[in-house]
């Protein structure tokens, strides 16, 4: 019954999306206000129905209902409850249901909470959201029904990929999807604005919180995903430039550019067409990413569902939505007047440079990701690896960081180059001191990129807090704090990346119980290897004692885990976090004569990477709350004044 109820809710939601689109189309075309009255309730109902459908699927997974094909294929009755729950989206159909649920709920939120937008643009936006949702409903209902039954029911499920059996699965995909799919709101805003030709500052102010919210969640999702891959895959790396990682990075790059250009539009009414374009591109990148992941067109460690038929379906959706939006852009944007002009030395110019650099990185990542496809079309098979991306995107990202430090110190509209230079003196001095310090400490031992990365990270950290100098900190608006914290987060993250690639010490050893491995001042003694049993796995566990520079020993327990369903072995790295770095130990295979392979890394300050990512998201949250609270306060004061 639950499965059927879920399916009915999904069909009803699709029907409501169709109705919503029709109401908007006829309401706006025929100027029929009574039709438009119904749009918002319909959008809310649609959001509720998608939530019901998704809840139904969660219930089926929690109950291990093996008469449902999806549950039988991807779950197992012996799994711990957390993985039954999170397993709901650990598969193709479930994750696509999460996709439409996020779209539905985001649409409902736009219907309920958006007050700043002009009414016709608001309605056109909801029409756009309904139109995109319809395609994905069709995809679910016709090509990936999550509620399909099997008869007779399976005796038990086939289990969930053990790599996914980790608390990370409960957090990373939903957060990422909220951001990834949340960008659909910005896309719909752009469609709405193009349809009603309202591309101006008030439109930008209305769109900004939605972009910010999606961007915060996307930032958190990527940060969490990076940390998860780091500790679960046991390679000691935190970013692999895998096509699926790039699929999440590309929307983030576009959304980051959008976040900045929307501020220019909101504050100075400039960059109109460009902002609309970015809003279209950001969600288009989400859709392209989904296509790349789901079609299996690129080989990836993440290739969950290699299915060309589904790929064709998504490709058709891409053609309709991206092609349609870009055609609408071409058709309508000519009618958008040029925005306000600005001087060469101004905050606007800095933000334009930020946008250009982010776009260049986006373009390079896109080309790198698709290059194997391109050459294959001409008969060559190649793969593009991390060295390309590091070498190409790295230097541009460093320049971007410098602009990031200078931008907030430049005034809107018009500034004086000498003045800007004077404000940058302190960061510049810090950069020179950092250069000297890093040169003395590590000259010749580290690469050029990590070297520059460290120097720039220190200078940018100083530069990013510079907007707070000589200000009354209690009177500084919350959104300014947000910007400072987010920019500081970028510097912190960069410092972590540079330290990791510059100073990581790696040691490979084969040891017997009782032997000691030494790495970077750490002494690790293997006490014994013991078999242990978990909920749905068994493991060989190494009991180890680690101590640094003769300090008190700490116990470490790296494992090699075996899961019977489906039969897989995973490595569970042991991590020991200290303020100045992380010790990362992986237990490998048994070598000859009772010796065990051990892989040990000492990674100085590596945790700064994710701490920085969290700071960036926190900064976004402060900016969002700051802007919204200001809106509420202004409204409240206005009401008080009227009273």
């Amino acid at each position: 019954m639950i499965a059927e109820a879920g399916l009915v809710a999904l069909w009803l939601a699709a029907a409501l999306a169709f109705l919503q689109l029709g109401l908007v189309a006829f309401g706006l075309a025929g100027k029929k206000s009574e039709l438009l009255e119904a749009v918002r309730p319909v959008a809310v109902a649609q959001g509720a129905l998608t939530t019901i459908a998704f809840t139904a699927l969660i219930a089926l997974f929690m109950r291990s209902d093996m008469s449902v094909l999806l549950v039988a294929n991807n779950s197992h009755s012996m799994k711990p409850w957390l993985y039954k729950f999170a397993g709901t989206w650990g598969n193709h159909e479930g994750s696509m249901l999460l996709w439409v649920t996020v779209m539905g709920v985001a649409g409902a939120a736009v219907a309920l909470f958006e007050r700043a937008l002009r009414r016709d643009t608001h309605m056109a936006t909801l029409g756009g959201q309904a139109a995109i949702s319809l395609g994905f409903y069709a995809f679910l209902l016709f090509a990936s029904n999550p509620f399909a039954r099997i008869n007779p029911p399976a005796a038990d499920g086939q289990g969930l990929n053990p790599l996914l059996q980790d608390p990370g699965l409960a957090f990373h995909p939903p957060t990422l999807y909220l951001g990834y799919v949340g960008l659909s709101v910005a896309f719909s805003f752009a469609i709405g604005a193009l349809l009603t030709r309202q591309v101006d500052a008030s439109f930008a102010r209305a769109m900004r919180p939605w972009v910010l919210a999606a961007w915060i969640l996307l930032t958190l999702g990527i940060t969490a995903g990076s940390y998860w891959a780091y500790y679960e895959l046991g390679w000691g790396g935190w970013w692999f430039w895998d096509p699926v990682e790039n699929a999440s990075l590309m929307p983030w790059l576009a959304a980051t550019a959008l976040l900045h250009s929307v501020t220019v539009l909101a504050t100075r009414d400039a960059l109109r067409a460009w902002t609309v374009m970015l809003a279209v591109i950001a969600f288009s990148m989400s859709m392209v990413g989904t296509f790349l992941v789901r079609s299996g067109i690129l080989t990836s460690v993440h290739a969950f569902a290699v299915d060309p038929e589904r790929g064709s379906f998504i490709l058709v959706l891409l053609g309709i939505y991206i092609g349609g939006a870009l055609a609408l852009f071409g058709w309508r944007v000519g009618a958008v007047r040029e925005g306000a002009p600005f001087e060469l030395v101004s905050r606007e110019t800095m933000l334009v440079v930020n946008n250009l650099l982010l776009s260049v990185i986006l373009g390079l990542v896109l080309i790198g990701t698709l290059y194997p496809l391109l050459t294959e079309a001409f008969g060559h098979k190649v793969s593009v690896g991390a060295p390309y991306f590091d070498r190409i995107a790295g230097p541009i990202a460093l320049i971007l960081m410098i602009v990031m430090a200078a931008g907030p110190l430049t005034r809107w509209r018009r500034d004086n180059l000498a003045e800007v230079g004077r404000r940058l003196i302190v960061p510049a001095v810090i950069a020179m001191i950092a250069f000297a310090a890093v040169a003395i400490l590590a000259w010749g031992r580290i690469g050029v990129l990590p070297f520059l990365g460290l120097v720039i990270a220190l200078a940018v950290a100083a530069g990013s807090v510079a907007p707070l100098w000589k200000r009354n900190l209690r009177r500084t608006p919350l959104f300014t704090w947000g910007m400072v914290v987010a920019h500081l987060g970028c510097a912190v993250s960069l410092a972590g990346m540079a330290c990791d690639s510059a100073f990581t010490v790696e040691k490979l050893a084969a040891v017997r119980p009782g032997d000691v491995v030494e790495a970077a001042g750490w002494k690790l003694r293997l006490t014994r290897i013991v078999p242990i049993a978990g909920d749905n796995w068994t493991a060989l566990q190494a009991d180890m004692e680690a101590s640094r520079n003769g300090g008190p020993p700490v116990m470490l327990h790296p494992q090699s885990r075996f899961f019977p369903s489906p039969p897989t072995t995973t490595t569970e790295a042991a991590l020991l976090t200290r303020w100045n770095g992380q010790l990362y130990v992986v237990l490998g295979q048994e070598a000859d004569q009772g010796r065990w392979q051990l892989r040990v890394w000492w990674k100085p300050f590596v945790t700064l990477i994710w701490f920085g990512g969290a700071l960036v998201a926190l900064g976004g949250a402060l900016a969002l709350v700051g802007r919204e609270r200001r809106g509420w306060l202004l409204k409240w004061r206005g009401k008080a004044a009227v009273a």
Partner: protein, 175 residues
């Protein structure tokens, strides 16, 4: 100029769309056929892989009559699934030799006792060197060797029941 810029994104997207569509519609070609097909077998001499079957030398395969050379391993699950089809080919009169890849004699004996033994001779290729010389990229694979010791045909993956007529035809064609 502005007009051109406005339509540029759509034009770029059209290019990507065509690229995606061509990548998607192209048949998924993951089979890597050996460059050795049509050439004479590389020279090799392999020690016996099973206790009750003789060793394998490349010149023993040129007997004037087409033979099947099966590449397998006791640790390979598809090879176990393929065993009934090889026995059926044996019953149909096909002479089959084999190379066991990265294997041990006890394991091969156990495998043959369990799944049946259609082979005349089995050579042990402990380091996959002959496998690589043959241009074989995995197990199981089967080669049709004509009477002069030339590779006439390569079958990648396990032989399914409905492949049998095709294999017999290939053996016939190699005459």
């Amino acid at each position: 100029m502005r007009k051109l810029l406005i339509w540029l994104p759509l034009a770029l997207f059209a290019g990507f769309f065509i690229l995606f569509a061509s990548g998607l519609l192209k048949p998924d070609d993951r089979v890597i056929t050996s460059k050795q097909v049509g050439k004479t077998l590389p020279d090799f001499t392999l020690p016996p892989a099973a206790s009750d079957r003789p060793a394998l030398m490349s010149r023993e395969l040129a007997t004037g009559k087409p033979r099947l050379l099966n590449i397998f391993a006791s640790w390979c699950v598809p090879c176990a699934a393929e065993a009934p089809q090889l026995l059926a080919l044996k019953r149909a009169g096909v002479e089959i030799d084999a190379i066991a890849i990265r294997d041990a004699r006890e394991d091969v004996d156990r495998f043959l006792a369990r799944y049946g033994n259609p082979y005349d001779r089995i050579g042990l290729d402990a380091r996959s060197s002959v496998q690589i010389a043959l241009g074989s990229s995995g197990v199981p694979e089967s080669f049709v060797i004509d009477g002069k010791g030339r590779i006439a045909y390569q079958h990648v993956g396990d032989i399914r029941a409905d492949d049998i007529p095709m294999i017999l035809q290939q053996l016939e064609d190699a005459r």
